[in-house]
């Protein structure tokens, strides 16, 4: 177990370096300039030139290394050693945002990531509750009316885009029924509709995974033995079958959690959630280089770490898995 954790953590920087390099090449080759305004008045040409120079926008190689120097914490460390007053005040310096001039990428991520993590977590919890329940019910009575109904819900959850689900929920609850408030964020109840919208595709997938695993488990010998010994169906499902049926769900949870917690552009814009998801789209649109790389690195790091957590949990839940 320890070996696994150490191995993964050693791999992490290398994975991030590769991802950084690919992201850098793609972001750099985006057309347009990061410093000119999309609309309205442009600053004098001399000013634009000076800005491009300041951020090394005229020199990709220098840009690549300078960013790496700052984001890895080396610049901070060097500054701390030499007592340089220009040293960054944060250890991992993700740089400034071009579009939102008063904010650094660290601040943007710092304010939006917790929001997305909280929302993503709620979505995953909702998805697990709905998905496991629907999957178990469907598996206990396959092809029954209940099973078909959950199948239908799952299909809708997967195939309906979240801007449709989100808008329908907004019109249904706050606008027609007066429950909740459109555009409000911060109160606990404000999280319900966006979390529900975000959870549906995950819930649908978990429901299908659970159902398949459960049907298989219920047909296995040990379940039949347990039933023959007079153990009730509920106990069999809860104590024996679910344990095995849950394993595929668990391995799906790693990437699912990373996706849910790095936000969704659509859910965030429809419900006005100040999360990190919108930066993925906006930053590319604005060619906001530092933001593009910042959020990509965060997402990649989270993906690796969540997969690691799932692997560790796997061993914890099911001690048979060792290697």
């Amino acid at each position: 177990m320890i070996g696994l954790i150490v191995r993964r953590l050693v791999q992490l920087p290398m994975i991030l370096l590769v991802i950084y390099t690919i992201t850098f090449v793609l972001a750099w080759s985006l057309p347009g300039s990061a410093v000119i305004n999309d609309e309205g008045r442009q600053p004098p040409a001399a000013v634009l030139e000076a800005m491009e120079k300041q951020y090394n926008l005229d020199n990709p190689v220098l840009f690549y290394w300078e960013y790496l120097y700052g984001v890895t914490g080396l610049k901070w460390a060097a500054g701390a050693i030499t007592n340089d007053p220009d040293a960054p005040s944060v250890v991992f310096d993700f740089g400034p945002s071009f579009r939102f001039e008063d904010w650094t990428v660290n601040e943007l991520i710092g304010s939006s990531l917790p929001v997305s993590v909280a929302l993503g977590l709620s979505a995953i919890l909702i998805a697990l509750s709905i998905g496991l329940f629907a999957g178990v019910v469907g598996a206990v009575k396959p092809n029954s009316l209940v099973d078909l109904a959950t199948l239908a819900v799952a299909l809708v959850g997967i195939s309906l885009p979240s801007f449709v689900v989100g808008t329908v929920l907004l019109i249904l609850f706050p606008v027609w029924m007066g429950v909740g408030q459109v555009g409000s964020w911060g109160r606990p109840q404000d999280m319900v509709l966006p979390a529900l919208t975000l959870s549906l595709p995950f819930a649908a997938y978990i429901a299908r995974l659970t159902r398949i695993g459960m049907i298989e488990a219920l047909q296995s010998d040990y379940v039949r033995t347990a039933r023959a010994k007079g153990v009730s169906m509920g106990t069999v499902v809860w104590k024996h079958a679910l344990k095995n049926a849950f394993l595929p769900v668990l391995s799906y949870l790693g990437p699912a959690a990373a996706f849910a917690m790095t936000g969704s552009f659509v859910v965030e814009t429809v419900f006005r959630v100040p999360g990190i998801g919108q930066h993925f789209v906006d930053a590319v649109r604005n060619k906001d280089l530092f933001v593009i790389m910042g959020v990509t690195l965060i997402f990649a790091g989270m993906l690796v770490i969540f997969n690691l957590i799932v692997d560790v949990m796997y061993r914890w839940v099911d001690p048979r898995i060792e290697q």
Binding site: P31, E101, E107, S111, A118, P188, M191
Partner: protein, 610 residues
């Protein structure tokens, strides 16, 4: 399974903790919806409309407009009075004795001088730096400082030390004081000397960019870059609790993409303002959500409505069913640009280099039909660039209106005649008129307008067109490289003088995307600049507008912009107060709204409004 439940329980507890520690503030007295969060709270670096409106709430320039007065006159703000010298070149402002910063320190003339110097310094990268070039010596200083930094950058690395960069800054400060006509005569008196008489200078000083900043606060976040010699600023000073303001409001809290929270500045000199104690400003990116949020009572004022069903809302309003949508005439014009250079970037000759061709294109367009059938939200069709009636004393010319006969004659006069009977005009060498690419940016009505224009040109002139929509960044880059044939454009004026529009056509202007260069026009602007008689000056500028809108047409104006707010009117149809409605909103075309002036109609007014 119990183990899984434990994990579940922990996650739920964590979630509850996160939600519990992150509670919002109670509702504010006035809540606004904006579309995008603010770019910057640094007044010298602002250029976006919503940033500028916020600046008027938290900063106070020396003078301001009376935006409720139809003449848009200029009244005292932080300065209680001012004098103008006989030659109109020297302005002396007297700052109110009781004007203070939000931290209780007195507001001084030095704060203004410091702020305006920041705007002129190329280090600040101010979009509006050129608006300060009317001050004597400012433009020369800008160039001097740019050259100084360049020379410094060429030094060997060993000589570019922190000390050298600090010395460089001191040298620049001394040079500024010696050469630029800006002087804090005393703590409360600021004297400005202009390069030449500039009749709109007072109007400029009303503009947000001319606001002061609190010197000591900003300086704490400024450092010199030893490598380039330039000043660099950490934007931490614009965030509460650091930011110090001198306007009616101070910044209570700024949470990115969540909320801007303002509260009345306890040190503001006026007893009367602000009218509302607390203001909450919510950025809502999704347009549909923004409208729903307003409709369900989250906000009293949606400041920028752009949903595509706006035309239907206006139709409803006309039937008396939807009083909240408020179309406002704006100080701007939607147009399409002609590339005016001799050749396109690919080396082909550019037919639009000939003004006759541009006139032919302009007169083939029925703007009325485009505005009513495509935009459908009440915009005034435009035959001129400067919105008529928006600037006192300026007489708009007529411009070129829809006239297909004359359009065809102009094109023929330019040598483009259908010589082989295929419907497409050819030049004397028999080459057909090139297919005109109409460049626009995605995600708006530009493609529809482009198609309508193209159809008109094909009908009237036989010219083939192709509509090309690109992502905003790419479109912007093509404009900058002048890599287009025709492109959509738009412009909002900044100050109350025709040159805020006309400068766009000046040879080499940074916003002259068209590559239009006409010595006759440049000469007119120069003549206007030298003219000291305001009435005569306006005549020259009116002639410049006529010249570009009737003869040379670097742009083809389509309509004058409308801007759309949502707010409830302050009174019902029967004249009784309408709770939740807004008072003191300006409907002047310049569309300057002072948040501190706005008042929400309350339930209990006049002993309980119904």
């Amino acid at each position: 399974m119990q183990r899984v439940l434990i994990v579940f329980g922990l996650l739920i507890a964590l979630l509850g903790g996160v939600i519990w520690t992150d509670r919002p503030l109670p509702p504010a007295d006035l809540t606004l919806i904006i579309r995008l969060d603010y770019n910057t709270l640094d007044p010298q670096r602002m250029s976006y409309n919503h940033d500028i409106r916020l600046a008027y709430a938290i900063y106070e320039p020396l003078v301001r407009w009376d935006n409720l007065d139809p003449d848009f006159t200029i009244v005292p703000a932080a300065a209680e009075r001012w004098e103008v010298s006989d030659d109109y070149r020297t302005y002396t402002f007297h700052i109110r004795e009781n004007a203070t910063w939000s931290n209780g320190e007195p507001l001084t003339a030095h704060d203004y001088a410091y702020a305006w110097q920041r705007a002129v310094m190329p280090d600040t990268a101010a979009d509006y730096a050129t608006l300060f070039f009317h001050i004597e010596g400012a433009e020369d200083f800008f160039e001097w400082r740019t050259a100084q930094l360049e020379a410094y950058g060429d030094l060997p690395a060993s000589e570019r030390t922190r000390e050298a960069a600090i010395a460089l800054r001191e040298e620049a400060n001394a040079h500024f004081d010696a050469t630029v006509g800006l002087e804090a005569v005393s703590d409360k008196v600021l004297r400005v000397t202009l390069e030449r008489p500039t009749p709109f200078f007072l109007d400029l000083t009303c503009f947000a960019i001319y606001s002061p900043v609190h010197r000591d606060t900003v300086e704490r976040f400024v450092s010199v870059n030893a490598a380039t010699g330039a000043l660099q600023q950490d934007h931490g000073w614009t965030k509460p609790p650091n930011v110090v303001t001198n306007g009616p409001y101070r910044v209570e809290r700024w949470r990115f993409k969540r909320e801007m929270r303002l509260s009345a500045n306890p040190h503001y000199w006026s007893e009367e303002f602000p009218r509302e104690e607390t203001v909450s400003i919510l950025p809502i990116v999704d347009q549909n959500t923004g409208v729903l949020a307003f409709e369900t009572g989250l906000s009293q004022w949606h400041t920028d409505v752009t949903v595509d069903y706006i035309a239907d809302m206006i139709e409803k309003k006309q039937r008396g069913e939807y009083p909240a949508i408020q179309p406002m005439q704006a100080f701007g014009t939607y147009f399409w640009s002609f590339n005016c250079r001799e050749r396109f970037n690919d080396g082909r000759p550019n037919p639009f280099h000939d003004a006759r061709v541009r006139r032919a294109f302009a007169m083939s367009v029925d703007k009325d039909s485009i505005a009513t059938n495509i935009k459908r939200s009440g915009e005034e069709p435009a035959d001129v660039f400067i919105p008529p009636g928006s600037i006192a004393g300026f007489e708009s010319p007529r411009g070129l209106s829809f006239d297909p006969e004359r359009a065809r004659a102009e094109l023929e006069a330019a040598g483009w005649i259908d010589r082989n009977g295929d419907g497409v005009p050819e030049n004397a060498a028999g080459e057909p008129f090139p297919v005109i690419e109409l460049l626009g940016s995605t995600g708006s009505y530009h493609d529809d307008v482009g198609l309508a224009l193209g159809r008109k040109w094909e009908e009237t002139l036989g010219v083939r067109t192709k509509v090309v929509m690109k992502e905003t960044k790419v479109y912007r880059q093509d404009l900058k490289k002048k890599d287009f044939m025709m492109a959509r454009g738009g412009w909002f004026g900044d100050f109350g003088d025709p040159v805020t529009f006309l400068d766009l056509h000046k040879t080499g202007d940074g916003n002259n995307d068209r590559g239009y260069s006409d010595p006759a026009f440049d000469e007119m602007l120069e003549r206007a600049q030298r003219e000291t008689d305001p009435a005569k000056r306006m005549e020259i500028l009116a002639e410049a507008e006529r010249y570009t809108m009737e003869e040379t047409l670097p742009i083809l104006p389509i309509w004058h912009y409308n801007w759309f707010y949502m707010y409830h009117p302050p009174t019902n149809d029967n004249g009784t107060p309408n709770p939740g409605g807004l008072r003191y909103m300006s409907s002047h075309q310049r569309l300057v709204q002072y948040i501190w002036q706005v008042e929400v109609v309350r339930e209990d007014e006049n002993g309980g409004a119904s």
